[in-house]
Symmetry: C2
Subunit: 206 residues, 2 copies
DNA sequence: CCCTCAGGTTAACGAGCGCTAACGACCCTG
DNA sequence: CAGGGTCGTTAGCGCTCGTTAACCTGAGGG
């Protein structure tokens, strides 16, 4: 689509390179802690060359945060729709699908997950509201599924629980030494069990 | 101790005011997003007056982060020591005490909890290493208690689990609208159940 | 062969920020 | 009542950083 031949693996465009490196740097040292020269250097060009691709530093962060929020929400909705399309299987399976999808994000897009709940307040008002809306809708998708599975759980309790489980699932990107984790599959399985355990406990005694 | 009479409730010294407001502002807008003039204004003095109390802006963040890390570790060790002093009751009770103590921090010192895992990288090398050491020791206290209760749980799995439960417990300070929470007691009870459920699930199937 | 245009370059500007300097008001003590 | 220490003030310096301006280069097309 981009050049002429054999672009099967989609050679990353310069814009994508920049976004990727900016995400990594922002996650490592914070939005204000990274200069444009540094981002440029990370992709082999220098400083103001970035302005050929983005109107400003803010725009990079905005695109990153809006992008991941949209992908999370879209993924969640897709899984709910697939479940409904199958005629609605057991509610546990749907919750498992949501958990698994979120874990994939957390383990594979670690810088983005970090930015997602750390640098939101550095956005311009309009972008921040948009991201917050997407996040809220994503939470509501989960709340709906959780309450279908545990009808006894009050809505505000379900919301706090979902938020807490996000904190749980998003905890691994913050780890200082990622190499101390068990393998990817084992970590994913463990996180999955923890999340299910938390949900079960939320609905339990009360 | 400070002035002359009736300092029962410990009228906050200027230093403490500054730390309190700085913590709030840093948590709201990030370390680099807050200027010294703003911190000064928040306590009724202006800008460079802060330098009568702190050698620099970095020192405020360092004192905040070292302080909370020390208090968390100290609290954890105290509870373990109390338990040992009682001759070692049921292991569940000790874990419950740790959870309850951490929840108290998360709900009562929200800005500090936020800073604690968000702004660590803005510290000078020496301070950052110190905070990291304290955090690591705190995790180890939990890991020891968890493994006493669930001996089948491998050590690295226990560590990931403890980290994840911290993410879970620390999730409420990140909430956009804290007023949407149930009351403090209900929130604390819910978080407590979630944490216990996660630990139980960690030790469960696998 | 020239023109255009995408995608760079370096130089420099302007704003903001942390911090220092110099100074002043107040309170205590001898 | 002099003197000093505490705790402020305002002015301003120096540096960093995001952004803009002006210029350059190489590839594609009529």
């Amino acid at each position: 689509m981009s050049t002429h031949a054999a672009a099967r693996v989609a050679a990353p465009t310069r814009r994508e390179q920049i976004l990727r490196e900016a995400a990594r740097l922002f996650a490592e040292r914070g939005f204000h802690g990274v200069g444009v020269d540094e981002i440029g250097a990370a992709v082999g060009i220098s400083g103001p060359g970035l302005y050929r691709h983005f109107p400003g530093k803010d725009a990079m962060l905005a695109e990153l945060l809006v992008g991941i929020s949209e992908r999370l929400l879209e993924g969640g909705r897709l899984r709910v729709a697939e479940d409904a399309g199958r005629g609605g299987g057991p509610p546990e399976a749907l919750l498992d699908a949501l958990i698994e999808g979120h874990i994939d994000f957390a383990l594979d897009d670690r810088p983005l997950i970090t930015l997602h709940d750390r640098e939101l307040d550095r956005l311009r008002d309009t972008d921040r509201k948009r991201v917050r809306r997407l996040q809220r809708e994503y939470v509501e998708v989960w709340v709906g599924v959780v309450r279908a599975l545990y009808p006894s759980l009050a809505e505000n309790h379900a919301r706090v629980t979902v938020h807490a489980v996000f904190g749980l699932l998003n905890s691994t990107p913050h780890l200082a030494r990622p190499e101390a984790l068990p393998g990817r599959a084992a970590t994913a399985a463990l996180l999955h069990r923890l999340a299910r355990g938390a949900f079960a406990a939320a609905a339990g005694p009360s």
